[in-house]
């Protein structure tokens, strides 16, 4: 590109040869011509750049199909304090997830999440393979207005802190906490339809009608065992979920979910019936400090669940953490959960976790934590160290 310096240099060079008024006149003409050319070239460059920027605008040229994913490798070194119980010493690529989404238009899109759990799906005669291939999300979402959307398909149930946002760099601890795992039960997805709307006050509302749980007496009516994972799921009795969330102040989220299950055994157990879940949580981040707290409780109808104390299944945890800087963060968590809290039998678990996260990049995390568990008499009680590496993209 010709710039002012070039013109001046040219002038100085030409000046050396200017010995007469005729030469000076020629010199002026040359300078005018160079100036004209400079302006023309600049205009052409601007026009070319504008055209290129128009056709290559980053946001408009962004592909309509997006591939994302996350994954996590875990090493568990846990001693079983229950006499005679077996320890857990294993390395497991716990989750390998691919997420595909596609924008059909500005207002209609497809979202999916395909997860390989435990690295291997083996075709065994008794189904005893170590892993699972799971379709955790596959839905079409419609924007109904600037503040409302609807979706239909397989989606994550709007409940808890981790159920919808569980990429490894977004939470502390190698393993997901046991309260959301055993009580909510995360990760939890169902098939159905949902409607979401949000208000300028920072309140958002989600309602959904979807397939229900299908638990049984053989698992003592534990809610986690009732997940049908949208695989030829019995749909005799549907479930309905409503969540209200407020995030009106930066750093603060308060949310509550109510869910009604028409029949938690899909009408296969006359001694069981409907069930209700109440969940509430708070997330508060102020500067480097972060606090997460969650409470969830199930109320199961029927003499069947009541007979084993599973008519109440309850848990809570509180997790303070401190972000030392962009790379390092430390946390502690106290958890309590009980899937048979409805009677006086000793069935409550508690666990203390302390640990460290290291983010070499915002989307990559290395984790280490120590867990100290207290289990009911006669149950496995795991204490020890967990180490993990996780990523998202």
């Amino acid at each position: 590109m010709i710039n002012r310096t070039t013109i001046i240099a040219l002038c100085l060079g030409l000046t050396g040869y200017a010995h007469s008024s005729e030469d000076v006149e020629h010199l002026h003409k040359d300078i005018e011509q160079v100036k004209k050319q400079y302006i023309e070239v600049k205009q052409q460059l601007d026009a070319a750049m504008s055209a290129m920027e128009k056709s290559n605008n980053p946001s408009s040229s962004h592909s309509k199909t997006h591939i994302g994913g996350y994954g996590e490798l875990h090493y568990n070194n846990l001693d079983n304090k229950n006499p005679g119980g077996s320890d857990t010493k294993e390395i497991d690529f716990h989750r390998f997830v691919l997420m595909f989404s596609h924008e059909f238009s500005d207002t209609i899109r497809f979202v999916s999440e395909l997860e390989l759990e435990h690295a291997l799906v083996e075709d065994t005669s008794d189904g005893s393979g170590p892993g699972e291939l799971e379709l955790e999300q596959a839905y079409i979402e419609f924007d109904l207005s600037e503040t409302a959307s609807g979706k239909a398909g397989v989606f994550l149930v709007p409940v808890g802190i981790l159920n919808e946002t569980h990429e490894p760099p977004t939470f502390y601890g190698v393993e997901r906490n046991n309260v959301e795992k055993n009580i909510i039960p995360s990760t939890w997805w169902e098939a159905g339809a949902a409607y979401s709307t949000r208000f300028d006050s920072g309140i958002s509302l989600d309602v959904a009608a979807h397939s229900g749980l299908n638990t049984s007496s053989t698992s003592n009516y534990a809610v986690r065992s009732g997940r049908q994972k949208s695989a030829k799921a019995a749909a005799d009795d549907l479930a309905y979920t409503a969540r209200i969330k407020w995030s009106g102040v930066p750093g603060l989220e308060l949310a509550a979910t109510l869910q009604h299950q028409s029949d938690i055994t899909q009408s296969t157990d006359a001694t069981a019936g409907s069930a209700n879940l109440i969940e509430a949580h708070a997330v508060w981040q102020k500067g480097p400090f972060n606090l997460r707290a969650l409470y969830a409780t199930w109320d199961l109808d029927g003499s069947g669940p009541a007979s084993v104390g599973a008519d109440e299944q309850t848990g809570w945890y509180v997790e303070p953490s401190f972000r030392i800087n962009e790379q390092w963060g430390v946390f502690a968590r106290y958890n309590e959960w009980d899937n048979r809290a409805g009677d006086a039998t000793d069935s409550e678990y508690s666990q203390v976790d302390v640990g460290l996260n290291y983010w070499p990049h915002a989307d990559v995390v290395l984790k280490i934590d120590y867990q100290d568990q207290d289990a009911p008499t006669g149950s496995s009680e795991y204490d020890g160290i967990n180490i993990g590496v996780g990523y998202q993209f």
Binding site: Y195, S247, G251
Partner: protein
């Protein structure tokens, strides 16, 4: 059955509009300059400017140059950055080397819509560059939208840096 009909009716009857276009960039410029928008100028991401921009964004800028509009001690930047999957278009006003205003103009992500709220963007007001070239304020995040928050924070940081460059070259 009535429940399902209610859902379907709700979906069909709601007017379909574009998602997340909170304010068109032209309208934002009109607002900032009270209708007298100056001609845009350009900053090229070459040499040291490119290096610094790459360091702030943690990746190379998506384009070779960016436009800005300036009058007096104010400059306005319309910048884009990916949150988790999609670009977030943000308008940033710098006045006398301080952030006067940050506004999320177009939000395309499925999570983290809260970043468009004034309660979030007001956190950037009066932020400056520290002597080490960092953003002077720590921004409180939004649960479940960490990447979107970081994207807007990086853009605000970049706008402050670019303003400091153009102040020198424009002689403001």
């Amino acid at each position: 059955m009535r429940k399902y009909l209610f859902f379907i009716l709700l979906m069909v009857t709601t007017i379909i509009q574009a998602r997340g276009v909170y304010q068109h960039p032209d309208a934002f410029l009109d607002d900032v300059f009270s209708g007298e928008v100056p001609k845009p100028k350009f900053v090229w991401f070459t040499g040291e400017t490119g290096k610094q921009a790459t360091s702030i964004l943690k990746h190379k800028p998506a384009s070779l140059r960016t436009r800005y509009w300036s009058k007096g001690k104010r400059s306005v930047w319309i910048l884009e950055e990916i949150g988790k999957e999609k670009f977030i278009t943000t308008g940033i006003v710098i006045n006398d080397n301080k952030i006067e205003k940050v506004k999320v103009l177009i939000f395309r992500e499925s999570r983290g819509w809260e970043i468009k709220r004034n309660e979030f963007t007001q956190q950037f007001s009066n932020a400056t560059l520290t002597s080490e070239g960092n953003l002077s304020k720590r921004i409180d995040g939004i649960s479940g939208a960490t990447l979107s928050v970081k994207a807007v924070t990086r853009l605000s940081h970049l706008a402050l840096y670019l303003h400091s460059i153009v102040v020198k070259s424009d002689g403001n």
